[in-house]
């Protein structure tokens, strides 16, 4: 009797948790699905006839006006430019630094590494006010560089953290044999180290790409020129001119989200690893 009631209780617990899991599944996903749905509806359908469900017929014209009226392709292009150069710049600079810090002999290398990693603990609000003035004085405000350079600087700490850890775990004999074969330090770095560290590079690329693609606060403060705005800025419909065309807005937001969601679905393990890898050391 006792055992039976216990199993019953366990069953009940199980069911309770299962229901909770699927309820939160809906809470987490349905708003996004709702957005994708209404991106194919007109206002009448969104507001009155069919607010919740699948669109009755696909109003593709929303997507046409997203590309024509709302300039989405321009913002999209800018986002790609900024993210691409941020990723390349961060990887190059941080990898070189991490190599020197992890595998070469020099005084102050630990101090230099800790100095670089400090960036992880710095809230952007203490940087942004003087930085905006600095960029203005350097005459690069309202250019791509005004986003790319700060993004590189802000992401370097994370990249160094990951690369350093990875580089320390490789046996030192590898380079020794390369040196004996007569390779110099640059050649060893390029043809021995870089190929080995590729998995770590992939993790960091994903992380930085996500950060740069979605970055809002810097871009909002530093960029006012329409033609170089990235997607997070270009999508700000409610600031400035208020739009009542929900369908077209939904289309813009769906287009902007699509690449990230696809990248996540394809590389979900890597994305999750990239997003959480810093936690081990940061905490």
């Amino acid at each position: 009797m006792n055992i039976i009631s216990k199993t019953n209780k366990l069953e009940k617990q199980n069911i309770f948790f299962k229901i909770f899991l699927w309820i939160y599944f809906v809470i987490s996903l349905y708003p996004i699905v709702w957005m994708a749905f209404y991106s194919l509806k007109n206002n009448d359908e969104i507001f009155i006839t069919n607010p919740f469900g699948f669109p009755t017929h696909f109003r593709v014209e929303n997507y046409l006006s997203a590309t024509k009226t709302f300039n989405i392709p321009v913002y999209f292009f800018n986002s790609i430019i900024v993210s691409f150069f941020t990723v390349v710049g961060t990887i190059a600079i941080s990898l070189l630094f991490s190599y020197a810090a992890a595998r070469m002999e020099w005084k102050l290398k630990n101090v230099a590494r800790i100095y670089m990693i400090m960036g992880l603990f710095i809230p952007i609000s203490v940087i942004l006010i003087p930085l905006s003035k600095l960029l203005r004085d350097m005459h690069i405000s309202n250019t791509y560089l005004a986003m790319i350079i700060p993004y590189i600087a802000m992401n370097m700490s994370f990249a160094v953290l990951v690369f350093y850890g990875f580089l320390r775990s490789i046996p030192f004999e590898l380079e020794e044999s390369a040196y004996i074969d007569g390779a110099n330090v640059y050649r060893t770095f390029y043809s021995i180290i870089v190929p080995i560290i590729k998995p770590a590079i992939a993790t960091v690329v994903i992380f930085i790409f996500l950060q740069a693609w979605n970055e809002f606060t810097f871009a909002y403060t530093l960029i006012s020129n329409q033609s170089i705005k990235t997607l997070p800025l270009g999508l700000l419909f409610f600031q400035g001119k208020y739009t009542t065309d929900w369908g077209a807005m939904g289309a813009c937001m769906t287009i902007a989200s699509f690449p990230m969601v696809i990248i996540y679905l394809v590389f979900s393990e890597q994305v999750e690893r990239a997003m959480t890898v810093g936690s081990a050391v940061k905490g």
């Binding site: 708003p31 600095l134 040196y179 909002y220 997607l231 700000l236 409610f238 937001m253």
Partner: protein, 293 residues
């Protein structure tokens, strides 16, 4: 070998770009923020040294207290919702017999990869008083609970915090899930033999073992709350009135809108000190708890 790995020129070539960029773009601005917090300055003209007057003024500024309170409320909502829900979900998903794990995990994480602009505007539409999803759902169930979530003084900051909590819950879930998965199975065998329920086993075995992860989650959630900015900027622009200001919002407003550059820097300094204190407190609290187990 030694000679090559001590190559001074190579060390310089490898490290200087990183050190230079980091110093100019991160360290120099931080020191400027601290330095300028002692000045009355509009950011362009002559700066006047006024020592701690900015901070004194801050203590008499009502907006400062609103901002301080909002930061704490925001942080509290994030901690309760993200870590609370994240824990329950992570424990439930880690159950070996559960089906559809991958689908659930993916669904929980997707909001994390969206842009904050998309998320905030999506929720603006969900909160919309007339046509929003939330009021429509209330209507559908038959509850006449129409609310203007974002223009109501008392709910506005909570409504905004919920949006951030929704977006980043998956992040905390993933961290906690990974931590739970790394606990070896045999830790639970003794509990199972003693006939402990799963909830009990989790309370006494799982949670103490993943305290380190909790420390990180707490730090992350609290920092996210205290530094909140983009959410209110997009959703309410600080309104109604100044009811959803946070310290970052107040600082940028002073520096970029009203040209009180020095005052904005002073607010930023207070924010850094507040964040540091919070980190210290969290480290203390979690470390002390760990000793009792």
């Amino acid at each position: 070998m030694n000679r090559i790995s001590k190559n001074r020129v190579a060390v310089c070539i490898f490290t200087l770009p990183a050190l230079l960029v980091f110093t100019v773009v991160v360290i120099y601005p931080i020191s400027t923020t601290f330095y300028r917090s002692f000045f009355k300055w509009d950011g362009i003209g002559e700066a006047e040294f006024i020592f701690i007057k900015n901070f004194k003024n801050l203590l008499q500024d009502d907006i400062f207290y609103t901002s301080l309170k909002n930061g704490l409320v925001f942080a509290a909502v994030l901690v309760v919702l993200q870590i609370g829900i994240g824990t329950i979900l992570a424990l439930a998903v880690s159950d070996n017999s559960l089906k559809g794990k991958k689908v659930l995990r993916t669904a929980y994480f997707i909001p994390v990869v969206l842009s904050i602009t998309v998320v905030c505007q999506l929720w603006l539409q969900m909160y919309d008083a007339d046509n929003g999803l939330i009021n429509k759902i209330f209507e559908k169930i038959g509850i006449s609970y129409r609310q203007n979530w974002l223009t109501d003084k008392s709910t506005a900051i909570l409504a905004i915090a919920v949006v951030n909590a929704w977006q980043y819950m998956g992040y905390h879930f993933t961290l906690l899930y990974a931590a739970i998965k790394s606990i070896p199975e045999h830790f639970y065998e003794a509990a199972r033999i003693d006939g402990a329920t799963r909830i009990k086993a989790h309370l006494h075995i799982t949670l103490p073992l993943i305290l380190e992860t909790y420390k990180f989650c707490l730090t992350f959630a609290v920092a996210g709350g205290l530094n909140a900015y983009a959410n209110m900027l997009i959703m309410t622009n600080g309104g109604p009135g100044t009811d959803t200001y946070t310290l970052t919002f107040m600082s940028f407003r002073a520096a970029f809108q009203t040209n009180e550059f020095g005052y904005g820097c002073a607010v930023a300094v207070v924010l850094v000190i507040e964040s540091l204190l919070a980190t210290l407190v969290i480290n203390r609290l979690v470390a002390r708890e760990r000793i009792t187990y």
